[in-house]
């Protein structure tokens, strides 16, 4: 029966497109309709402030997301590794990311996951770290970002740190052990 397709270009075209569309629609449009949890923010999720958004833009511009993921997966190792002083990190829920555009889930962990890093370090740590990570963590391969620390009279640094500190706050999981306080 498929023999006909190799003589008739229009049939081949239609067949190939139909096959593609079946899987395409089932995996993109269908979940968008059925998976309500993907679009509903978790309770307590705050909109990004303007400053955090500016910091996020820097994070995107500098390609931090090529080295850092933002997702605590449903794996014991993730939950423990990205936890804090014995407290497990909550698993990331779709509803924590509804305001993220573009999403920054990432694919590669050259550095650690940052989904719950907000509040882990204070600002002076970040300043030193961005200027040259090896000053704090010998053996790190994270690039130095001296221009973030110095440009715009320190405003870029403020913005980026504000964004980093906001990460993972959709679930308030370590209120009492926070470097910011």
């Amino acid at each position: 029966m498929f023999g006909k397709f190799d003589k008739n270009a229009l049939m081949l075209f239609t067949g190939a497109l139909t096959f593609f569309l079946i899987g395409g629609l089932m995996t993109t449009v269908l979940p968008w309709i059925t998976e309500k949890s993907w679009g509903n923010p978790v309770a307590g999720l705050k909109e990004y402030s303007d400053q955090e958004l500016r910091g996020r833009a820097i994070y995107i511009r500098e390609g931090c997301w090529y080295c850092h993921t933002q997702q605590v997966r449903t794996l014991e190792s993730d939950v423990k590794r990205y936890g804090w002083r014995g407290v497990d990190a909550p698993i990331s829920l779709p509803g924590e990311f509804t305001r993220d555009k573009p999403h920054l889930f990432g694919t590669r962990r050259i550095g650690p996951d940052l989904a719950r890093v907000g509040g882990k370090y204070d600002k002076s740590w970040h300043r030193t770290h961005f200027n040259n990570p090896r000053d704090l963590v010998p053996g790190s391969v994270m690039p130095p970002f001296p221009w973030i620390v110095t440009s715009n009279g320190g405003k870029d640094l403020d913005d980026l740190v504000a964004y980093v500190q906001s990460l993972g706050r959709g679930r308030d999981w370590r209120p009492n052990h926070d470097y910011e306080q």
Partner: protein, 464 residues
Amino acid sequence: MTSEVKRAAVSERGPGEPTAMGFIISSIVFFVITALVGILAALKFVWPEYLGSMSFLTFGRMRPLHVNGILFGWLLAADMGLVYYVVPRLCGNRLWSEKLGLITLGLFDAVVLAAVFTTLGGWTQGLEYAELPLPLDLGVTVAWVLFGVNIFATIATRKHQQMYVSLWYIMGAIVWTAFVYITGNFATELFSGVNQANLNWFYVHNAVGLIFTPIGLALAYYFIPKAAQAPLYSHRLSMAGFWTIAFIYVWTGAHHMLHGPISQWLQTVAILCSVMLIIPVWTVITNFYGTVKGRWNRVNSDPILKYLIAGTTFYLLTCFQGPMHSLRTVNAIVSKTDWIVGHAHMAVLGAFSFFAIAGMLFAVPLMVRRPLYSAKLAQQSFWLMFTGGLIYFVSLWIGGFIQGLQWNNPTIPFIDTVIAMRPYWIARAFSGVIIFAGVVLFFYNIIQTIKGGVKPVAAEPRTA
């Protein structure tokens, strides 16, 4: 195929094929440039601070330049150039419009060139494979439509009614790509969070699966029988392979988010379909090896067949790895590590680039009606790319696997797992230099063939 008769007809082709040639030349220039960027990026893992004080040379800008440059500047342009070459030959006519082809080339190159600057400048959409800003996406889309119109018009006016399997794959790729690209670069703009990520992975996965795979296979289906001077092993198998790819591939995007914040059923569907991909791969591999069967001695002397057979083997390995990675237990180890980077390089360099290189080594001499400048140089470039590639893949697999195991033990501090990667990153940078040397030799060989340079040693002319 009645190759002798056909070749004679082809050499009467008159004013040449500027579109195919233009795309080929442009692609190999970007191959050299963006492969070099790859090495510069790899060296940052050995010396994290070198080239580190200038924002436009930071890793986060070099990486997208390398990835997009290789995928679009080199591989897609190379594939398009070879499609412009192959389709008229399979249809027994000429390209519908060389003029339209040249406009397409101009537009495509303008986009790729502009992308170098936007990428280094940090102007990005922040989505993998879709980094280019919207105006450039628009340029790519228009170029693709022009390309599609030209190719479909050529096929519609063909002299041979029967369409060889390469033509199916090319048609499939053109249609699928249009949808996949628009979803990944425009539809994503309408969504955020997990909804957007799902579309993003649909695109990333299918960019490889429904753009580079079908065009790469189309080329291999064309050039393997040519280079081996043997008929295709089985037409029936090639049909089975095509329709299974058309149906299954598209379901698998969510396997990039296994264990992540995305619905379980979608993960399971992606895993099942990933595993089923073994079927089309098996049909393709049987067909390619079957065609060369009984002619293995030629592989020794012919660099083109070497590239094709090595490409086929890497394709098999990549497509075996893919389904394995999608199994939840394996995924929990290799996901997010450099294992995946090794895997991706085997697909894009080892399989699809090798097919495109073989196609050029075969086609360019016929287009300029002159033997290849140096078969010896082609052999050397093959061995450099092959050895360098193997070192690259294997070092990252070992390193990535070890790092994955270490991550699964939360008592090991993260930085220790970074330091453990150092020897593998050094090997990777070293292998990059070897691959690059092969790329340069290949580039030189093609350019000399086009310019009609004098051969250093008498290489036997290809009459194949």
